[in-house]
Symmetry: D3
Subunit: 324 residues, 6 copies
């Protein structure tokens, strides 16, 4: 079991001074207001998922810059629904995953929620598949997504993704069967980092569940012997030796630990003490700076797989209570 980070007692005390770019809030309000001109343009097509328990729709909406973003909308089968509006969960996926096959990521639908699984643009070619491209290019970058557009926050890959996420929340909250006041966001790893952003930037999020989140406290992540994808930063800087400040300034605009300072909804985090991909100090950095009600599930002997089904069960119980 490799260990690359602090001990658990040290983690509870780890409170870094995260440098916040002066224009952070201005950047994001400008970014979001620029999207106002693109209507959501939601389309829904029923698909056969082979299941009797879940009803699935192929959902497309206009994300950043009006680019089409694909998702599944999973609902508990009609026989399982009563007349009340459903609570909802928007799920963002881990690095290079996508919405998967129609029967693949259906947990929250089984638990009784309207469940939207959003593709991450340009990804969907790793642990699970996706169908959404990213039509925007990039300056010089290292393989991976973390240094695409690293030269300026406006050009950065995650600017587009976070806008997609904000709009996905809007899509689910606007669905006829959904109660807009009871919509949560969640995700594992990259999905957790996007959930933190969506919780900070989207309107009306009722709960946030970041699981071993990625995209937090970038400088520390880059200084630890992490594996990919954080290691993309170090590889880029090993070539572009003169861009250290530029790179961390750009990334700071997407830091989940800074998003956490803008949180208003209650949150359930999870962290794995032996995590070599999203090291626990970076997760605690986000947790400790989270400005609303929060708790964190600590998995002392897990690497990046974290709590897995144990965390799923804990989330289901916690969310039922929060949205009750």
């Amino acid at each position: 079991m490799p260990r690359i980070d602090l001990t658990l007692p040290e983690l509870w005390d780890y409170r870094p001074e995260l440098p916040e770019p002066s224009g952070f809030d201005a950047f994001w309000s400008r970014t979001l207001s620029e999207q106002a001109g693109y209507p959501l343009a939601v389309t829904l097509e029923p698909v056969d998922n082979g299941l009797v328990a879940v009803e699935t729709f192929d959902l497309t909406f206009a994300g950043f810059g009006g680019d089409p973003v694909r998702a599944w909308l999973h609902l508990p089968a009609a026989a399982l629904r009563d007349t009340e509006r459903l609570p909802g969960v928007v799920q963002f996926q881990g690095y290079n995953g996508g919405r998967g096959l129609p029967h693949e990521h259906v947990f929250w639908a089984l638990a009784g929620y309207a469940h939207l699984v959003m593709d991450t643009r340009g990804q969907g070619s790793g642990w699970t598949t996706g169908a959404t491209g990213d039509p925007h290019g990039s300056g010089p970058s290292t393989p991976g997504f973390l240094t695409r557009g690293i030269g300026h926050p406006d050009a950065h890959f995650y600017r587009r993704v976070f806008v997609d996420a904000v709009r996905a929340v809007e899509v689910l909250r606007g669905h006829d069967l959904v109660d807009p006041d009871r919509v949560a966001v969640t995700g594992i790893s990259q999905g957790g980092g996007i959930a933190l952003a969506a919780g900070a930037l989207a309107d009306g999020v009722a709960a946030v569940m970041p699981d071993v989140p990625f995209l937090c406290d970038f400088r520390r992540a880059a200084d630890l012997p992490t594996l990919d994808p954080y290691a993309e930063i170090g590889r880029y800087l090993a070539a572009h030796r003169d861009e250290v400040d530029l790179v961390f300034d750009t990334l700071a605009h997407f830091d989940g630990a800074l998003m956490a300072r803008r949180a208003t909804a209650p949150a359930l985090f999870s962290v794995a003490v032996a995590d070599t991909i999203c090291p626990p100090s970076t997760v605690f950095a986000a947790h400790h700076s989270y400005r609303a009600a929060k708790e964190i599930a600590v998995y002392e002997f897990n690497d990046h797989e974290g709590g897995g089904p144990f965390q799923q069960a804990r989330q289901a119980a916690w969310l039922a209570e929060v949205l009750a």
Copy 2:
């Protein structure tokens, strides 16, 4: 992508002469008849799985030697069931997995089946958890389960597991809500090897779906540079240099490729050409010797993760047709 085995064209032609222990059938009929004295002793307790779509029961039955074996019985929620008896699927788990948490392995219930997920005795401490011990000891062995009781087929670990599997089929076929003529067995890796055994040894199995099965063509598996658990064989023999014949004779009694010669139900295999854990030649050995109707899904660029959700979708479609 490491590759350790033959090319795909060679795999289609790989038909080893598998030595069959002379007493193979006698061994198994004696083994099964010895169990006759132990009633199934099924108990069922409803559990809260947090899901609206699946109803789960904590099921215990008497396995080999009457030892208690734990399982979940997952059913589509009552609102999803009509008055007809349900088709069923018995799922065996991969190496060192178990039945998991109550909400964890529910795919076949979502697809409309009575779904029994059996613990593997003594395991359940790896990729997913279990709750069933194995009260039987062992002679000298190497860490792992493959060399426990390696000195004699009667003492071998998988003798007990395969008996558990046969009885699990009997349990599901005997459930009130289940149509005993429409019960399939399935499993990934070790679960696939157990499924092959259950298909050969249990009564009334209607379909067999071994996914990248383990426990086939042991000698070849041991001669290739496989990872664990096949590598346990080589590690044991690196110490016990004088037991080569003994070891492969014992293992032959549990070889899925010999079980395949006794098959009667139609089968859907899967195989991954880049598999470094269950190398494709050992899977093709079982497939090629399978004596009933069969097909095989080939994943050319996958390691042991195999077809994953693609194979789940294919199985669901295939099984619906076979059991129609």
Copy 3:
């Protein structure tokens, strides 16, 4: 020393039937004619490289779609030049490299050539740096450049790169100080693959020197246990299990071994028998199908570093003779 490929005698006999997409030539003539509308738009700025022996210019030209592509033009210092036009060499870089710093890649200038080092768009963030972005996006892809735009040859990353290369040759041949009839193309690894493409697609190339070239015989490369970047193919297909034919059809449009069939200029290849990145069989596939005069330097105990300075010396001697 890992070895992943055939022995040297087998390599001399390795002559695969490479499937050639029916529209290969049409695809490339359409692609090139589409670029006709973009003038080369060359700009040249002298830069201080700190050297007394080489004069360097920051050169920009319009590549694919008119996108700006950066390069260095290195010339032997004025005191070293006489009144005759210089022979020229266009150098393409290895995977994720770029033109580097102004003093960095100057070998051919030292040897008396006008030497153009072209950035590879979007790369330049690895073993040496670059300054050219790629403004075009991509469908779902795996980290790296090989699966960007994998869904269609028109969208593929290397379509843009090969057009850039063709135009770079045109730029150097058009320079006042250069003799347009004595311009060679060269490159190591990816640079070698691009050189093969430039040799087939550009006008007036006088010699081709592909060093341990990448981008050849993709199917074999993907079936061997290669490291990155060929391994990107397998990782993509491990997710997109249903796109095997599509992927290899797209890639075939960029296969150096098919480009080799269209060669007219003499070539000096190199190959490393222990190469784990560009396996020697894929290099021999290109060499054996090369349709013009050719020779190949074989390095029996080298991995992807190949002949290094030994090959540089051999190239310098060979090229001097070819262009004499």
Copy 4:
């Protein structure tokens, strides 16, 4: 040279507060008294070891629960013995080793001692072989011996092993040729951990020589990036995320650092500062808490191989003096 632990100055200061289960002593006195009903039942058979210098007997005695435990009794050849009783050494073996072949582990006999090499039940399938099984089963466990019976101290594997060890001491002390007041215990790695237990639990041990001992300060061992077998703990807990306290409570009953607090005989430890299997802090934890006369040989640049023949020589000199 990987390093995973404290520096040498820090190691000399490492004195952890080891939590001691309240019933520790009661557990062991109950355990030992429960064995009273099983007579030692020693049998001795001369074997041909091919040596002129050592006489070897195949010795079997009744260990925990009366289970047969195999050992070799090696004596200096008759020509080397005078009329006095011999001092004795009981040797316990490292993880998954056994007594080996009759000529294999004879050092202490060469040095003039009656030398008993005890099999470790169920092991003997690794670096050296054994012939003793463990007829007791286990609840769910991870491959290896450390988590067998982890659910309760009564069921734990090392409860049985430590009882075997106590009885092995009794066997050797009771042999006609042996002076019962001059019997030492020793072992490397797991053998060292067993020696610490035998020193604390057996009657009349005259000296203890734990070499780079395993089975000490489990929590720290599990929190460091150790290799197997300590890593078995973390793997088990990565699955059974809810059993952290239970696991460490069970293991504490077998902690050599707690055994050390009950020591009465003089001890010679050894420790390797670069040990990645039994990290030096865990060894120092046992050394520092050892309650009788003690010294420790420190090997600053060794991994788990420790002092090897250097430590053998030091032990021989030390033991001759202690038992003089």
Copy 5:
């Protein structure tokens, strides 16, 4: 278990055409006759090895060029010796080992032989220690001993070592207590390669026991993905790309498979089929070309540790019979 070589049936058929340097025999007769001027100059000092069963002497003799070479002479303790002369065994050590500590390598003395353990000059700094330097320098070489003096057979490291070995046999055969007609040579790995050379070059060797021998069939060893020390060849040639023929010509003068053609004494080989350091084909090459009576112990599941104590027992029985 990595496998890098042929299967066992193929190994039995592997009979390479080993190129034999034309001057092979002349080289060795010149080399040996050049040494005639250096008297053996044997000195013997008794040392305290802490053992009652073995008597040890610190023996020095003049090796190649008269350089002092250290060894231990171990004898069964006087009480174990009768009046007859003892048979003898000269043991050569594995790569970078030495004679060890005085109590360390005493097996053949225990078995009743006069046992000479020779230091390998310049080594003795690895798995066991030595005390003999090598006062001769080298041309450019890669770390390790295999490429020292690679430029010419006269300068090569193993020329000096093989001469030392020949003289060590002469030393033991000349000892008062030893029967000169019953002296065997043995060794593991490098020691086995030296034993093959001593068997071919020394007078009066009665038996040869090469265990998983190194220094055989160099070209094949270099072409397989072996670990060190064979990999030193490839590393040297990866730099000195122009010296391939020179290197293999030099090495051929020291090839155990060519020495085997000059054998006259009976031999017992051993080979490990999964050996990644001395691949089995190279061992079989030596075995198959061995010109005297021979047998070979095959360990099918062992890496370079080979038969270990199993082979020791087999050697003891075989040698007793051969020398009877």
Copy 6:
């Protein structure tokens, strides 16, 4: 990105008490005065390097003990030289490199310097080649150069190398075309360690540029988990467990951090914070103890490749200013 050392703020504060052997200065003055009897015996032969921009001579001089040492003398081509004497740079090479091919290491000649590239005796068989042997043998050592002659400073490999370096400076300063007051020394890794020694021991060095230097603060380097070649120390001591003090005493005579205390010329260091071969603390140890004007370029995300071409550019600018 593995990290094995302190953070950057800690590195700035790392000031170890380096034990200085009492006879350090006497050792070196004796060593240098012993060489007085060997004339430099410089020979120069022009060679064809294939370049128009650089003129190269094969230079041999008498190094330690009069042994011939090979080098290249590269000069800017005659057309690039004016009538003034040239400033000079002596370059020492990294571990197991050599002077390379005649066109290979010519940077400083391109920049306008007389550039002498010295072979490292006995090496030249790794990343670049050499042609100089080391005719002196060694006591027992581990593969590599660091423990050759480890038993006494007089016998140590680097004593000979440092004398070669001092004499190389003398050779270049004595060349007709060179201004003896403007000669700098430089090198990467081992070359940097030699440069520190040459700066301390040679007369008239005008500037020192150690790049990620090796051979500094040996004890810390050995205690960190460094890769080769520092790891050679630990491997040697893992065998020779009783020679710890001896080894570090010998090495201290060659410690660049002690050489730094004797520096008089201005220095430009470089250090890579993620360096796993020459860990940054050992480089800072040398920098902090450097007694003359100094600066250091810090590369925060680089491993041992350090600043590469970025550092070359910085050196060229710095040296032009220092020697102006």
